[in-house]
């Protein structure tokens, strides 16, 4: 993030580990008071916490957009398949019209839903930038044991001050964080 900064201004990433959401929320307040913006803080947790619980900025998820686009694509595909392709090679059956509307709803419904579900599924991965093919990322394995890991980035010269301030919030661990391949 601060690629250009060197020496004492070079950014360092730390992790503070908590076991109670109350403590984590307080720690985030402390960080903010020191002047670390929300975008330099990242929280990892073993269970989902709503943004409001930790006092983090509320941001809507982009996944519904994917769902809508997927549904639209699926709908178009179904339209093409049901109303388009029979015209290319008309075969009449059972004295019924070539393009019958009521049964088209079935095809339209199924393919719309299929498009929507696939897009939603893919949306999760694209939006969360998973899998991490673009390099290392910070992680604390205790997260899967239910801990709340607060990662933050500070210039090197401020690190000590931040650590001292955070000590009051009762973290079980404060340590420099290294990116790893997961």
């Amino acid at each position: 993030m601060y690629g250009g900064y060197q020496g004492r201004y070079a950014p360092k990433t730390f992790v503070a580990l908590y076991h109670e959401p109350d403590d984590a929320a307080r720690a985030i307040d402390v960080l903010r008071e020191i002047g670390i913006e929300d975008r330099f803080i990242q929280v990892q947790s073993g269970v989902p916490y709503r943004a409001e619980f930790l006092g983090r900025p509320e941001r809507p998820s982009g996944v519904p957009k994917y769902a809508m686009v997927g549904a639209f694509v699926g709908f178009l595909a179904a339209l093409g398949l049901y109303y388009g392709t029979p015209l290319l090679y008309p075969i009449r059956v059972g004295g019924k019209p070539l393009l019958a509307v009521p049964p088209s709803f079935i095809v339209l419904f199924e393919l719309t839903m299929l498009g929507m579900l696939i897009a939603t599924f893919l949306g999760v991965f694209v939006e969360s930038l998973l899998p991490p093919v673009f390099g290392k990322r910070v992680y604390h394995p205790e997260v899967s044991d239910g801990a709340i890991a607060v990662f933050f980035q500070v210039p090197a010269h401020l690190a000590e001050r931040v650590k001292q301030a955070l000590a009051a919030t009762g973290p079980s661990e404060i340590a420099p964080a290294e990116g790893t391949f997961l």
Binding site: I91, R92, V93, G94, G95, K96
Partner: protein
């Protein structure tokens, strides 16, 4: 009609039940003409006979006043065929030229849905690859495909004969004459109970017979618009 327009042929069959004596010649002739597989006694008894045409037999009345009735039953070549729209791969479809219900053997994948949906139980299925025991293998008709296992088949109104007559008529530049096309069953019937012809030809024999008061279509109330017309002076309802 200078030339027979393929758009204007509508082949129909008239079966006079008052003439039918249930001899089964039509069944045999049909099997010979159409390379219908020979499934053997045991299989046949289990309901796996491949006959495209069968004689449906009923006993009417209480003993001792019992009457027997016969009704040759075959594909009715419905205009609104229930078997057609249910096929996922268009293996059964409507021929617009002859207004026949066509079974495309090569397309069939064997879902057997068409057979379930046929109110006339007219379709048969190739349960196995059947062999023709000697000397029956010599009779195979070269004009008709031999079907392999796993596909559906049914009466075609002897389409190979229809096509042959149509081609000959076209070469001679004339319409197909009435009585020129005769399916195997009609040809074999000793009492001439089965008559075949073009409905669009106003002078055809089928037209004349079909206008008889005795005429009815089997399961007409289902709206399938069958192209087989039965003639009977007796009640044929089950």
């Amino acid at each position: 009609m200078a030339e027979m327009d393929p758009q204007h042929t509508k082949w129909v069959m008239v079966i006079d039940l008052d003439r039918c004596n249930g001899c089964g010649a039509c069944v045999t002739a049909c099997a010979m003409e159409n390379n219908v597989a020979f499934t053997g006694e045991e299989e046949n008894a289990y309901g796996r006979g491949m006959h495209w045409l069968r004689i449906v037999r009923y006993w009417v009345g209480e003993w001792p006043n019992v009457q027997v009735r016969f009704m040759p039953m075959l594909c009715q070549q419905c205009s609104n065929a229930p078997c057609e729209p249910v096929c996922p791969v268009f293996a059964t479809m409507h021929s617009e030229a002859q207004e026949l219900n066509i079974q495309v053997y090569n397309r069939c994948i064997g879902t057997r849905y068409c057979a379930n949906n046929c109110p006339y139980i007219a379709r048969t299925f190739n349960w196995f690859d059947y062999e023709w025991p000697e000397p029956l293998n010599f009779h195979l008709n070269p004009d008709v495909t031999v079907r392999r296992r796993g596909i559906m088949e049914k009466c075609t109104f002897c389409i190979q004969r229809i096509r042959a007559a149509e081609e000959e008529a076209r070469m001679e530049g004339r319409p197909v004459r009435d009585g020129e096309v005769q399916p195997a069953c009609a040809q074999a019937c000793p009492t001439e109970a089965i008559v075949f012809g073009n409905w669009q030809d106003p002078n055809s024999k089928v037209r004349e017979l079909a206008e008889s008061q005795r005429g009815f279509r089997f399961l007409e109330e289902l709206g399938t618009e069958p192209k087989v017309i039965y003639l009977s002076s007796q009640k044929h309802e089950f």
